[in-house]
């Protein structure tokens, strides 16, 4: 599987995402935000966590208008896979590649802790190796992870089985406990929790490993 990880100024989980992809067997290229095209023959694009452009203005808003994001949109329009974790999820919503928005946490504080997640669908390239309804522990680390969308959008996400993960203890006030969602074609995923931080024994928790193994085995090499 050929993957790219986008690097915006202020991204700080880019290396972590690349490590998890590489250790899962992907061939990973880091792509700088000023680039206007993605590498040839790419299967999947990862948008990492961090504080792109300092998260000034609004989290992910400036990155959504970065040169490389235009290439990302073209990749998605062609039916390519893309996923965003944490700040990456915020970028994908700001870019209009996923519905909804991420507001400030309900408690108004930044939260970093391992939180229980329910796997809400296994019908995706990202979640196929989990069991439906399985509870996994995955760290969150964000100030603005409170997912919101209008009622019709939320209903549609649920009706189309596009909620990927739900919080067990809703730490940030997200609508309908939503922690991660899929696009209509199920190939674009955004989630606030960090599966790359629960990836190997040294993390004390390997619940995030199946996220990457699902992806690598689901994506047919180009």
């Amino acid at each position: 599987m050929k993957a790219a990880v986008l690097v915006f100024p202020g991204s700080n989980c880019d290396r972590d995402m690349a490590v998890a992809l590489r250790k899962s067997g992907a061939d990973v290229t880091m792509v700088w935000h000023k680039e206007t095209s993605l590498p040839e023959g790419l299967d999947v694009v990862g948008v990492p966590g961090g504080f792109s452009y300092g998260d000034y203005l609004r989290c992910g808003a400036i990155a959504a208008n970065s040169p490389i994001t235009r290439a990302l949109k073209a990749h998605v329009e062609r039916g390519g896979y893309a996923f965003g974790i944490c700040n990456g999820f915020q970028v994908l919503t700001e870019a209009g590649l996923l519905p909804g928005a991420l507001l400030r946490n309900a408690g108004l504080k930044y939260i970093c802790k391992t939180t229980p997640l329910e796997v809400a669908t296994t019908n995706s390239a990202y979640t196929a190796d989990y069991t439906l309804g399985q509870t996994i522990g995955v760290p969150i680390a964000h100030h603005d992870g409170n997912f919101t969308a209008d009622e019709a959008t939320l209903d549609l996400l649920e009706a189309e089985d596009r909620v990927a993960f739900r919080y067990g203890d809703n730490p940030n006030g997200s609508a309908r406990n939503i922690a991660g969602i899929l696009s209509e074609n199920r190939r674009v995923l955004g989630m606030m929790p960090h599966p790359e931080r629960a990836f190997e024994a040294a993390h004390g928790n390997e619940d995030g490993k199946a996220f990457f193994s699902s992806l690598v085995s689901a994506v047919v090499p180009a």
Partner: protein, 719 residues
Amino acid sequence: MTDPKITDDLIAAHGLNGEEYARILEIMGREPTYTELGIFSAMWNEHCSYKSSKKHLRGLPVDGPQVICGPGENAGIVDIGDGQCVVFKMESHNHPSYIEPYQGAATGVGGILRDVFTMGARPIAAMNSLSFGVKEHHKTKQLVHGVVEGVGGYGNCFGVPTVGGEVRFHSAYNGNCLVNAFAAGLADTDKIFYSAASGVGMPVVYLGAKTGRDGVGGATMASAEFDDTIEEKRPTVQVGDPFTEKRLMEATLELMATGAVISIQDMGAAGLTCSAVEMGDKGKLGVRLDLENVPQRELNMTAYEMMLSESQERMLMVLKPELEAEARAVFEKWDLDFAIVGETLEEDRFLIMHNGEVKGDLPLSTLASSAPEYDRPWVPTPAAEPLADVPSIDPIDGLKALLASPNYANKSWVYEQYDSQVMGDTVRTPGLGAGVIRVHDTPKMLAFTSDVTPRYVKANPVEGGKQAVAEAYRNLTAVGAKPLATTDNLNFGNPEKPEIMGQFVGALQGIGEAVKFLDMPIVSGNVSLYNETDGVGILPTPTIGAVGLIANEDELIAGLANDGDLAVVIGGTGTHLGQSALLAEVFNREDGDAPHVDLALEQLNGEFLKANRSLINAATDLSDGGLALAAFELADKAGLGLTLDSGDTAELFGEDQARYLVACSFDQAEALMVAAGQAGVTLTTVGKFGGDTVKLGGSDAPLATLSAVFNGTFAETFA
């Protein structure tokens, strides 16, 4: 714009006394210009010159085979094998944080991170030691929120995991909180960068963010006591931009890889002045600056303002001229300023030009080396009065009182606001004992802790100083690490008072003895004096930050107690209640002596623990709160009940040193007993883990009740 005339009032406003000004006249042979006066003030204030502390710092042990670079550079450097090293330092940002908590704490974190990556190291871990006034004080809640958000706001955005620290509350900090920030980075031993310039006529390059008027005179402010004019000092606090710092770090590390850097120095306290003087003095060269080329954020900035600005996220570098294009390209990639602002000179001269006009012309080496040095009078701290009788107390009530105090309650409200896992190498997150970070792509790990018990230091500076080091040693040992080295952040009151100076001298003596015996040399540090408000000093608080090395996962101790495990104490029974947490929290008393520290016993018991790690499921050191608090913390973390056989107050709450509590199975405990007999170590089975009740002697309470208190106190007090 004309510069103001030099008057007695202007000299005093620069924090310079008559004697110091006479010395300036002698050095210059004429009246200084306004800019020159500002430069002397910046170089000679307590914060930059260490004029009261230097004499006593010289005696500290700073050497060892593991030390690559000791105090004097931006941070200390310690060898961790395989061509790698850890670069670390701790520094205070106390006064700015009290005036403007968010930005004060944020820029404290920014400053210490810059110290680390200036040397070529990528920051991999941060900690912070925070001391606040009591919860009832009207400022405390606002300070706690502001400081914690500032620390998190900066570190989280920058992308460094915060893996440890301390938070304490005491009325002595009501008017003067302490914010001590620690950072550690990782570098290759053959790619370390220093500040000494070399070569004549080499370009001096300004890197990073633009210069504004923020922080003008900050270091001078930080060297004075507070009074009721504090609000007027708000403009002296700098404003941080972690996004720029992150880019500056990436750009600096990329720049270093191009080979273009001859020497480099971050702009911290007293900004352009200190960094230029430091680079010139260490390289035995002069420096000329052309200030019109300094990237400026505001219009019409004067030479005085530019030389004294403490705008953040800036560096100064001496560049190999033939690699200018490569170096410039790196900074353009990251959209940061890159400007040649001067050059190195052969003669010993600090020449400051602005639009063709000489604004300052000083002898550089004299400026660097001639700061006053004081041998301040000091008196030894009198021996503590013996401890008065301690009334007996129901042990569960005693434990509950500790759990209900923000000093001893679970601090997750604080550390969950810090990203503890970014970079994907965090092995042990904050909460109990040392934090552990894996050295990326290796089996090695580094452990980090910060410790001091200010009550002990006040009662007995020498033993208190020793104890701070001993506790750091134990916290590292309890996760299986070999302690490597130490950074000290020495926070004290007004050094012009002999009794305060006596605390300083005594604490340094104790710290020195302990780091020497335990082979944890001091490789970096910072002194913060004048921590007083309206004449009331803080508790003497020499914070010890320490780093340890874990060779591989077999050496790591990071497990939880199991149901049915025995609770075993390495190192004897509790007896010492003087200056204990129990006395302070339950009886509102701070009397008696600090516990005695037996360094040989510390080493014996510490080495024993590590040698027998295979027999231990979970470990923690015993410190304030004694056996009862440590055992409860291990039990709460594992979600298990606890039985301690003794109900004796001193046995449960005594704070005798050189002790650990470990959890092990019956079979492991048998083997540990045999090993202890051979090693001459005192080992006592004091109870067991399991069930859902906490029993201390004849008294008990449901675990759930106590855990609710322990885990709820902090948020209830401050949210």
